[in-house]
Symmetry: C2
DNA sequence: GAAATAGGTGTGGTCTGACCACTGTAAACG
DNA sequence: CGTTTACAGTGGTCAGACCACACCTATTTC
């Protein structure tokens, strides 16, 4: 029964190894040759496993040095998938809609954790034209303090920007209104300000 | 300049090849040996690329037959990542919070496109205990008609399930309340019903 | 003639050995 | 003591070999 693929078994072994030795990001894992010997498999099989994990962004290899565990949290794999998937028109509309929804979500999150100081600083930045739209929302999303959520937004942002939509010129005033609404902790007003910012009306009636 | 890794180049080539030939899921891609020859690289490098894509779930290989493009939609990569990544507690909380937020989002989406027939059918299914929680929400999310959003939820669901949280026993009644609220197009009532279903209260005050 | 069989071909799966490019370090040198 | 050099270890790549398996086809068998 040579049923199971060796490289998958190696992936599994590696996972256990990492867990057992409590390895963290930055730590070195055994060399390909050593793994090959220890696990009684060919080096090519080890490499297949490592390359797969590398593409997933779980490890990092440096020639002449070795293979290291990576900080998983920036899983770029979704972007990889994105370039494979996003194609038809409906998908584009979905991106736009989803991005808007997510942005409203973290506006609500921010409402719960309003930090007037940070918002004030942000206001100054807008005043000095220091930020573009992405950067503005990135500042906000950081306040929401949810890493996973940030990731989703970052990916959506990339998707969105890759759509090459005609850029709408926003006026600074819209951002001010939004920030003020946040400071006032007024959800309705905040979301209204957002809709105005994005020129939303019909489709997103409830949003 | 042997800078770029060959296997990454192969991944890229494959992507272009798939795009150019308009290959869809189920289609066969050239054999390892043929790719090796056509791209002037060693077969082992081709294999490294293919194994990586396989682990990502983008292709499927069948010994004796060949390598085929897979239906991307079934993202099993999440499980892999899940077991690798989700470690610290904050990350887990983020997953939970995010999943809840997303679910509320598509409840709102559904509110805009209420289809009483479908909701009625869903009600019957719940009545007959045909669905578990995931399936219930999957039915709802389909009504929201946003593929990208569905994908995000599916991923979150997988993450969530890989957390191995103690299962809360939901009672059917909560689902009924939720469905009724949807049918009535009452946003407040819908979200309240959802919170009750998930036993949310404090943290998600605004939600 | 139809069905069962055997063989051939093509495919992925794995291993081995070889060589290259690069890094870090210890030994040799000045 | 500082600099240079040589070497060992590591990842990167390739070529060739063999195995296991799936499929098709020609042959045999009934």
């Amino acid at each position: 029964m040579t049923n199971k693929k060796v490289y998958l078994e190696i992936v599994k072994q590696l996972r256990e190894m990492i867990s057992a030795d409590n390895l963290k990001s930055g730590d070195k894992i055994p060399s390909e040759r050593e793994l090959s010997e220890r696990l009684n498999v060919g080096r090519s099989s080890v490499r297949e496993a490592l390359r797969a994990l590398e593409l997933l962004g779980l490890i990092e290899t440096r020639r002449g040095e070795g293979t290291f565990i990576r900080d998983f949290r920036g899983n770029q794999l979704v972007q990889l998938l994105g370039t494979f998937i996003l194609q038809d028109e409906k998908a584009k509309l979905d991106v736009i809609e989803t991005k808007n929804i997510i942005e409203m979500d973290f506006l609500r999150l921010v409402l719960n954790k309003v930090d007037k100081n940070k918002l004030s600083i942000l206001k100054d930045l807008v005043e000095d034209d220091q930020l573009n739209d992405d950067q503005f929302f990135y500042q906000l999303i950081e306040m929401a303090d949810n890493y996973l959520f940030s990731r989703i937004w970052l990916i959506l942002k990339d998707y969105y920007n890759s759509l090459n939509l005609s850029k709408v010129e926003y006026n600074r005033n819209s951002y001010f209104l939004l920030l003020e609404a946040l400071i006032e902790k007024d959800e309705q007003k905040t979301l209204d300000a957002y809709r105005q910012l994005r020129n939303l009306s019909i489709l997103t009636d409830k949003y």
